[in-house]
């Protein structure tokens, strides 16, 4: 069992425009537990993406502390942060960002190539349900299939945490649910801590915990007593 916790203590992110200071994140304190499925919910401009940036080491906070397994990462330089992401994190975005000149299998290999203990590519392909598409190029896939490849690519290196930023933002209901199902499955089977950012409150029903954000602050953190699976939720 992997031991993991990400702890954020009084994290602030301030953007300066001339003399004006804008708080993108204000006094965020949070602990993400190992194997947890966390949904961060909030409207546009609430600071969700900024939070994801700082948790995942894509950006440094202006103040506060972020630690990963007792190691403070908020002071890391870009080289150390790259290594941290390489060893621990996986990412899925609204846009699939597949490498267009590689096949499905090869795209997943690109993700697995930098993992310390990667999963078998074939196993991942089978888990996300794209066996028949494995030799196709991205342009030959539907949006849902592409997003599944994107998830497979992030999960292939066996990351400790998977960050998903609006993973269903560009998908219709049926495909969106399929993709969420894949995420849920990965979380369950591989115990990968999964952080999903969304503005769709229905997705929150799938989470272990839901963190609601507004104006850069945490409004509330709610624990889901009765988790739903992807196909049980309403879409919009």
């Amino acid at each position: 069992m992997r031991e993991l916790s990400i702890i954020l203590k009084n994290v602030n992110k301030i953007y300066k425009t001339g003399d004006i200071e804008t708080y993108a994140l204000k006094n965020i304190s949070l602990e993400i537990k190992q194997g947890e499925f966390l949904v961060i919910l909030g409207p546009s401009g609430s600071g969700k993406s900024t939070l994801l940036n700082v948790i995942s080491g894509l950006d440094n906070p202006t103040s506060g502390e972020i630690s990963y397994n007792d190691e403070i990462i908020s002071n890391y330089d870009s080289k150390k942060l790259t290594k941290f992401r390489r060893d621990n994190l996986g990412f899925t975005f609204q846009q699939y960002n597949l490498l267009q000149n590689l096949t499905v299998r090869e795209n997943i290999e690109i993700g697995a190539a930098i993992g310390k203990n990667p999963f078998s590519i074939d196993e991942i392909i089978q888990k996300v349900g794209i066996e028949s598409e494995k030799d196709k190029y991205p342009y030959q896939l539907s949006g849902g299939q592409q997003q599944r490849v994107s998830i497979a690519r992030s999960i292939a290196k066996n990351p400790n945490i998977l960050f998903c930023d609006e993973p269903t933002g560009a998908l219709d209901e049926a495909t969106g649910k399929q993709v969420l199902d894949v995420l849920q499955k990965m979380n369950k089977e591989f115990k990968t801590t999964t952080v999903v950012i969304t503005h769709n409150p229905n997705i929150a029903l799938m989470a272990d915990r839901v963190m609601k954000m507004n104006s850069g602050r945490i409004e509330e953190i709610v624990k889901n007593e009765f988790k739903k699976n992807a196909f049980e939720i309403n879409w919009g």
Binding site: S49, N53, T82, K83, R85, R86, G90, L102, E109, Y139
Partner: protein, 788 residues
């Protein structure tokens, strides 16, 4: 509003567009420079040749007498039987000399009625107390008449006309004095001869018009002056000269004519270096400038096309909105076209202006070597149009085509454009070849192939540049091989020709004799036979591995490299060589690394027997020495260091032209790589961001995005190597076939390694900006900005 937004887009591409501007400038500059320089020579040269009756061909002949001529001389002029050269007959008996020459001329004219001949007489002389040389040419009456550029023709025996460039370089003004062989001459004019527009005084390509000149004196003074005399016939067609007909009916026929057996060679002017090289240079110069400009323009046009295509494609969403708002295609297209015009037109005009300015210097450079009348460079509408309008039409036309194609799409399609990128056949093909490679490796080496157009421009651009680089490398040491290596290898410092009308001189200690026979025949071509002693100390022969092979003369003859290259003869081959009417079977025992003339070295004794018809094995007509030789004792004395000094100008000229070519090639390659790699990074912006987010380091991302350019640059270079070698072989063959001249370009394996290093350096410099761009791609980009 619309032009403003387009201007903003272009501003973001300012460095790329400036780089293209440099290529556009170069294409217009090279074309204008060369065309103006060449056309300023071409017109006046053609007029000069026509007005002064330039020969259509020249007839070389044996300097000895044929059997028939000897019998004629014995019966009519009562000379004793023996060996005679035309030179010594002229000295002893002028009537006999002119009678023989008249008979030769008559027999030719009788056989080939459509042509006239006129005797050309000239003497090579050393100018007093200097290493300068003068070729005094006797004035002709009908063919190759001299042209006085300035001043007047010499009318008294102490007057002389020389070349203007020699006078200028030696600060000699009209009415100044020039001392030749102890006598002072007043320089009364500047002269040009149409058959010596490239003043080659020997078979080596040593031309330094500051150290050698052509001279004209009165006929009487010509006969008085002492020097090594030579003769040939100049020929002219009575009607319009038809090169092909002449070759068929005269050149190919003459070998079958027994009455014309005094002829060793007939060369039409276009194939004669001293008079016809200028034609080839003009033709070649035009072809080269046009070819280079065309190639450079094509690269520029293709890159511009790619950039415009990428620009418009990246703005297809914006264009789609504009179309949806009701803007017409023309309204959208015009700002793009205006901006393309704004970049290309000034660069083309700047290239034209700079080209016209520098054409004066290039023309002057030509006039350093060619003795031709100079004129001012006048503006030529055709050059202006070709240098500016033609490329401009291409730039605008191609841009219009691309824009029109993009705008022909519906607004909705434009808004959706760029969602899916298809995979090219080439990408799929290479991917199949790399079946077992890792995905990272596959990505590295296949993504560049996805944009076939861009890959084509890159590959062709680098191949073109690589050919130029290979050519530069192959010319390395060219001039040394042609001239200086030979002189540096021999141990003698002075070389004298013996006046054979007088008793042979007694040699001092350390002096060595040699025998040169320039009228040998091999396969109907005139070749030089040179006799030296196999154990001599002053003129050793070396092979291409720098091994002394002089002793091989005991086993057979040693041919020089030019002979080997022209006739493809190897060690052990037998060759049949004719001296006068007799044929000799010789075995090749070695090939020496020497490129001047087509030469066969033999043992002095053997050649002496052949030349004297077995009467003497001790005959010689030249002397080598380490110590200076008495000029009064010999006909001419040449100093090796003077020859090397004369070669310096040619050497520098070759060296600097090659450096210039290499610099242009490298600049183009850097620009091509710079533009294409920065475009790639811009295109792969999100991929780069994604890879960095995933945890790939900057170094790994650099390698994934840029290393393919390196591999394909090297591949393109390697493809260009056989092409460059092929061009080199064709060029060598062309020069041998048409000018009987060997240009020893040399392909060696180190050049490939050097080329790879140069390409690697070009790659390093050309991709610096792309690397910088990659390191600046922000990680959040992938989260913040989504592709439309």
């Amino acid at each position: 509003m619309l032009p403003k937004s387009t201007l903003k887009t272009f501003k973001n591409k300012i460095v790329q567009l400036s780089a293209i501007g440099i290529i556009i400038f170069l294409s217009s500059f090279i074309f204008t420079t060369m065309f103006y320089a060449i056309s300023s020579l071409e017109g006046p040269a053609e007029k000069f040749f026509a007005d002064n009756y330039q020969e259509d061909f020249s007839v070389d002949m044996i300097n000895g007498l044929t059997q028939k001529e000897l019998e004629y001389a014995i019966s009519n002029y009562h000379i004793k039987p023996g060996i005679y050269t035309l030179t010594n007959i002229k000295k002893e008996n002028k009537d006999l000399f002119y009678s023989i020459l008249h008979n030769r001329e008559k027999s030719f004219k009788e056989k080939y009625k459509g042509y006239n001949l006129e005797l050309r007489e000239y003497k090579d002389i050393n100018v007093n107390n200097s290493n300068h040389k003068i070729k005094i040419i006797k004035e002709s009456k009908d063919i190759n008449k001299p042209m006085i550029e300035e001043g007047k023709k010499p009318s008294t025996n102490n007057e002389i006309a020389i070349t203007k460039i020699y006078a200028k370089k030696n600060n000699i003004k009209l009415n100044d004095e020039l001392k030749i062989k102890g006598k002072s001459y007043k320089v009364v004019g500047y002269v040009l001869f149409p058959d010596y527009n490239l003043p080659m005084f020997s078979s080596t390509l040593i031309i330094d018009n500051g150290m050698q000149t052509i001279g004209l004196v009165t006929d009487e003074e010509y006969e008085n002056i002492k020097g090594e005399e030579g003769f040939h016939f100049a020929g002219k067609s009575k009607g319009k000269f038809d090169e092909k007909n002449f070759e068929r009916t005269v050149i190919n026929d003459v070998k079958n004519q027994k009455d014309l057996d005094y002829i060793t060679n007939i060369t039409s002017t276009k194939n004669q270096m001293r008079s016809g090289a200028v034609y080839a240079d003009i033709k070649g110069g035009k072809a080269m400038s046009l070819g280079l400009s065309f190639m450079i323009s094509s690269i520029a046009i293709m890159i511009v096309a790619i950039i415009i295509y990428k620009l418009i494609r990246s703005e297809s969403g914006q264009i789609g909105i504009l179309k949806a708002l009701g803007y017409s295609n023309t309204e959208i297209a015009v700002p793009y076209l205006i901006l393309i015009l704004a970049i290309s037109l000034p660069m083309l005009i700047a290239g034209y202006a700079a080209g016209k300015f520098s054409s004066v210097y290039v023309r002057n450079l030509y006039l350093e070597f060619y003795l031709l009348p100079s004129t001012n460079i006048k503006t030529n509408l055709m050059v202006f149009l070709t240098a500016i309008l033609l490329p401009l039409i291409f730039f605008i036309g191609l841009s219009m085509l691309i824009i029109k194609k993009m705008l022909s799409k519906k607004a909705v399609d434009l808004l959706r454009a760029g969602e899916k990128e298809k995979v090219s056949k080439l990408n799929k093909f290479v991917s199949k070849i790399m079946k077992n490679a890792k995905a990272v490796t596959k990505f590295k080496y296949t993504f560049i192939l996805n944009d076939t157009g861009k890959f084509f421009v890159f590959f062709i651009g680098i191949a073109f540049v690589s050919i130029l680089i290979m050519f530069t490398l192959m010319t390395n040491g060219l001039f040394n091989r042609m001239i200086t290596d030979y002189y540096n290898n021999v141990n003698y410092k002075y070389e004298a020709s013996v006046d054979i009308t007088k008793p042979l001189p007694a040699l001092k200690n350390g002096e060595e004799k040699f025998l040169v026979y320039p009228n040998g025949k091999y396969k109907d071509d005139t070749i030089t036979l040179k006799g030296i002693e196999y154990n001599n100390k002053l003129h050793k022969l070396y092979n291409d591995k720098n091994k002394d092979i002089t002793a091989n003369l005991k086993e057979g003859v040693i041919i020089n490299k030019s002979f080997n290259m022209k006739y493809d003869k190897k060690i052990g081959d037998n060759i049949k060589v004719k001296i006068s009417d007799k044929e000799y079977n010789l075995t090749i025992a070695g090939i020496c690394e020497e490129y001047s003339d087509y030469k066969i070295y033999m043992n002095l004794n053997e050649l002496s027997k052949m030349v004297t018809d077995n009467k003497s094995d001790e005959f010689f007509n030249g002397v080598y020495s380490k110590e200076s030789l008495d000029e009064n004792k010999y006909l001419t004395v040449a100093n090796k260091s003077d020859i090397l000094k004369q070669a310096q100008l040619m050497k520098n000229f070759t060296k600097y032209s090659i450096y210039l070519l290499a610099i242009v090639a490298i600049v183009i390659a850097i620009i091509v790589l710079y533009i294409l790699t920065t475009i790639t990074v811009e295109e792969k912006y999100y991929d780069v961001s994604l890879l960095k987010v995933m945890g790939y380091s900057d170094r790994e991302v650099n390698s994934m995005i840029l290393n393919s350019y390196f591999l394909y640059s090297i591949l393109s270079f390697l493809v260009s190597v056989p092409i460059a070698v092929g061009i080199m072989n064709t060029l060598e063959k062309y020069l041998i076939d048409h000018f009987n001249m060997v240009l020893p370009l040399k392909f060696e394996i180190w050049q490939v390694f050097a080329g790879v290093i140069i390409v690697a350096v070009i790659f390093f410099i050309g991709t610096l900006n792309a690397k910088r761009k990659i390191s600046r791609v922000p990680l959040q980009e992938i989260l913040k900005q989504y592709r439309e």
